[in-house]
């Protein structure tokens, strides 16, 4: 028994003294990325069984940065409850699972949010026939609201601040909210704006429904990694930043080869023509070039998955670049 225990202890020690996540990933030959079990526009399996969406692209971008190959990623499905333990126990290398960046998750749970790949926020959806153009006109409305969530508290705050009243119709799930709104049992449905968009897209006649312009809460969604492994955190952070910077510099998957001979110094640094930024990250020097070539820049990923041309029809809004009225901003590539 004693012998067995000591063997166990040695094995445990051998595994706990392991190298960084980046080396683990490289040795394993593929990235393990935690995603949702299916959320429209963010991560869902397509008809051929490939995961697609904004978060899935984030995972693929990191796989491309490490391996130069967008297929070297294994998607692990996680739910709202299982996502954090799955990351903490090392079953996945990173999470890209539309997770809101909050202080308690960042600090107390021992994770590190490396950036924001989608700025979401709580919004309102009403029937177009209601003739309302702003949430401040919703005095006396019946609101479908998920109980026990932060959305409930945000709603109460918003109506109190604006001095208007509402009647709450408590619901449990998103599906229930959808059915109640479509059946006319409530005038307004409130949840995260991206959720409203997918609810609207699921309607038989989406034009009958309208998402109001007010966003009443901050829900910055971003990829996260385990605390303490800064080298790996840097790889994920700069994979996201590379996509944002590429959009800023006008580098797309189509013109990236032509841009290799650009005369803009930052483009040359980004694509690895100049400097040795890949080496600093312990990646190959063309890592960012490969991300842009194989995944595209942020705008391309956004437009393909959630943008105005998709059924979700989410306008760029806050997610536009800082130069175009949004708050998307990446530190300089130098």
């Amino acid at each position: 028994m004693k012998k067995l225990l000591s063997i166990f202890a040695v094995v445990a020690f051998a595994f706990s003294a392991h190298a960084g996540t980046l080396d683990d990933v490289k040795n394993r030959g593929f990235l393990k990325c935690g995603v949702t079990t299916g959320l429209a526009g963010f991560a869902a399996p397509d008809d051929s069984g490939e995961w697609a969406g904004l978060d899935a692209d984030m995972c693929r971008a990191v796989a491309v940065a490490v391996f130069g190959d967008r297929s070297k990623v294994e998607f692990i499905t996680t739910t709202g409850k299982s996502r954090f333990p799955t990351l903490a126990s090392g079953e996945v290398d990173m999470l890209a699972r539309n997770t809101t960046w909050t202080i308690s998750r960042d600090v107390n749970l021992g994770f590190e949010f490396v950036g924001v790949n989608f700025y979401d926020g709580q919004g309102f959806m009403v029937p177009s026939a209601l003739g309302v153009s702003s949430a401040t006109e919703l005095d006396g409305a019946t609101v479908c609201i998920q109980t026990g969530t932060t959305t409930e508290l945000n709603l109460a705050d918003f109506f109190r601040l604006n001095g208007i009243s509402y009647e709450a119709l408590p619901i449990e799930t998103n599906d229930e909210g959808k059915e109640n709104l479509f059946a006319g049992r409530c005038d307004v449905y409130t949840t995260d704006a991206s959720g409203l968009s997918s609810t609207r897209a699921a309607a038989s006649n989406p034009d009958k429904w309208k998402v109001l312009p007010e966003i009443i809460s901050k829900e910055p969604l971003g990829p996260l990694v385990r605390h303490g492994d800064h080298q790996w955190g840097d790889v994920v952070r700069w994979s996201l930043n590379a996509m944002i910077i590429a959009e800023e510099l006008g580098v797309t998957s189509e013109n990236v080869d032509a841009q290799m001979s650009s005369n803009v110094p930052e483009v040359l640094r980004l694509l690895g023509v100049e400097g040795n930024y890949g080496e600093m990250l312990e990646l190959s020097n063309d890592w960012a070039y490969q991300i842009i070539k194989q995944i595209g820049n942020y705008s391309e990923s956004y437009e393909a998955n959630v943008g105005p041309d998709t059924p979700l029809e989410i306008a760029r809004g806050l997610n536009a670049l800082w130069t175009q009225g949004g708050i998307l901003y990446a530190p300089p590539f130098r």
Binding site: A14, A44, G49, I76, N305, P311
Partner: protein
């Protein structure tokens, strides 16, 4: 005189269709009212459901003759006036529903496993099967073959369980849970009734603990807590963890079901077996258990059906079973809003399996005549 010998027929009102109707549907006025009400409901419901599921439905092409590749092309979304169900989503996603994300080049292995499962079940289902003995040998080694076939090894490329999904996961969970829980449940039931206090207490504790917590809690424990206890780097497969949780859960219930059967065996049977000089195991194997299990068939099938449906809970720990694949499909922007079709399909598949199980248990009950008096008097 001849006329007197002729057998008189029973009144028309008590035989044939009319008699059957009278006795079963119009026996008295409450009975007649209920019958009429049900007929009225069916009259409205059946044409509508047939129209929605079959006559107005799209299967592969919409009413314009185009092949449907997303929800906007469904007839019911193009023209809300005439559309029925849009089964094209099932057609396009059929592979995922049946195999999950299993690689296409390796999928023959799953098909072989499905066929072998049917072969392995044959000798269990039909006692009169020719060469049943040899089929049974195959049944015993089937789990091992299936493991290597599905997971890889022995020259097969490895397919990580993360790629499994859909019906494959549902069947693996259901079959393994039911098959493993049966022997474990028998041991637990015998253990709980044991006269050795340590064994009896341990079995009772185990059963009461497992029965006292919901399946979801066990799944969470397996999925979330277990990896935190294991040293880092030692990776226990997610599906295995869920399988362990499901099997533990099912064995506790199975143990109680079988204990119910054991309680019903009259003490005379034990005494008779002992007086013949039989050991504990011989007595149980040859005399007690065959009778106890025979009278427990209905509850055994009951808990098995329950487990089969409960396997859908694994979505909560991030494993995409049949229902999970359905939900994943609903999250694809191409197929948003087709929830009726997808949930209908998933429930149909579940119904086929559970109905088959319940029919089979009826057949078994008839064959083994479980209702007979067991010699209690």
């Amino acid at each position: 005189m001849n006329e007197m010998n002729e057998v008189r027929k029973p009144p028309v009102a008590t035989t044939g269709i009319i008699g059957w109707l009278r006795i079963n549907l119009f026996f008295n006025w409450t009975n007649s009212l209920i019958t009429l009400f049900v007929i009225y409901c069916l009259y409205h419901f059946i044409p509508w459901i047939l129209d929605w599921t079959i006559f107005s439905a799209d299967f592969k092409y919409n009413f314009l003759g185009e092949q449907i590749t997303n929800q906007e092309m469904c007839s019911r979304n193009l023209d809300p006036e005439n559309g029925g169900a849009c089964w094209a989503v099932i057609y396009v996603r059929f592979y995922q529903f049946i195999y999950g994300f299993y690689p296409k080049v390796e999928v023959w292995r799953v098909n072989v496993a499905y066929v072998m499962l049917a072969l392995a079940l044959l000798p269990l289902l039909y006692a009169n099967l020719p060469y049943r003995k040899y089929f049974l040998y195959f049944t015993y080694i089937f789990p091992v073959i299936a493991y290597f076939l599905l997971n890889g090894g022995f020259g097969f490329a490895e397919v990580s369980t993360n790629k499994w999904g859909g019906l494959l996961v549902t069947l693996v969970l259901g079959c393994t849970g039911i098959a493993l829980a049966f022997p474990i449940g028998i041991m637990l039931a015998l253990g709980r009734r044991s006269k050795l206090p340590v064994i009896s207490m341990m079995c009772t504790l185990f059963i009461e603990f497992i029965r006292g917590v919901p399946l979801i809690t066990l799944l969470f424990f397996g999925m979330v807590m277990l990896p935190l206890f294991l040293p880092e780097g030692i990776d226990m497969d997610g599906l295995v963890r869920v399988l362990v949780a499901v099997t533990l859960f099912q064995s506790a219930y199975m143990a109680e079901v079988i204990r119910g059967g054991l309680q019903a065996i009259p003490p005379g049977q034990y005494e008779a077996a002992k007086s013949l000089g039989m050991s504990y195991w011989r007595m149980n194997l040859l005399i007690i258990l065959p009778q106890a299990i025979r009278i427990s068939i209905p509850p055994i099938v009951n808990t098995s059906i329950g487990l089969f449906k409960d396997t859908t809970l694994v979505i909560i720990v991030g494993i995409l079973d049949l229902l999970g694949i359905g939900r994943g499909t609903l999250a694809d922007t191409n197929w948003l809003g087709l929830s009726y079709e997808i949930y209908f399909f998933v429930s149909l598949v579940f119904f086929i399996f559970t109905f088959g199980m319940s029919r089979y248990s009826l057949y078994l009950e008839k064959k083994l005549k479980t209702g007979i008096n067991m010699g209690a008097d």
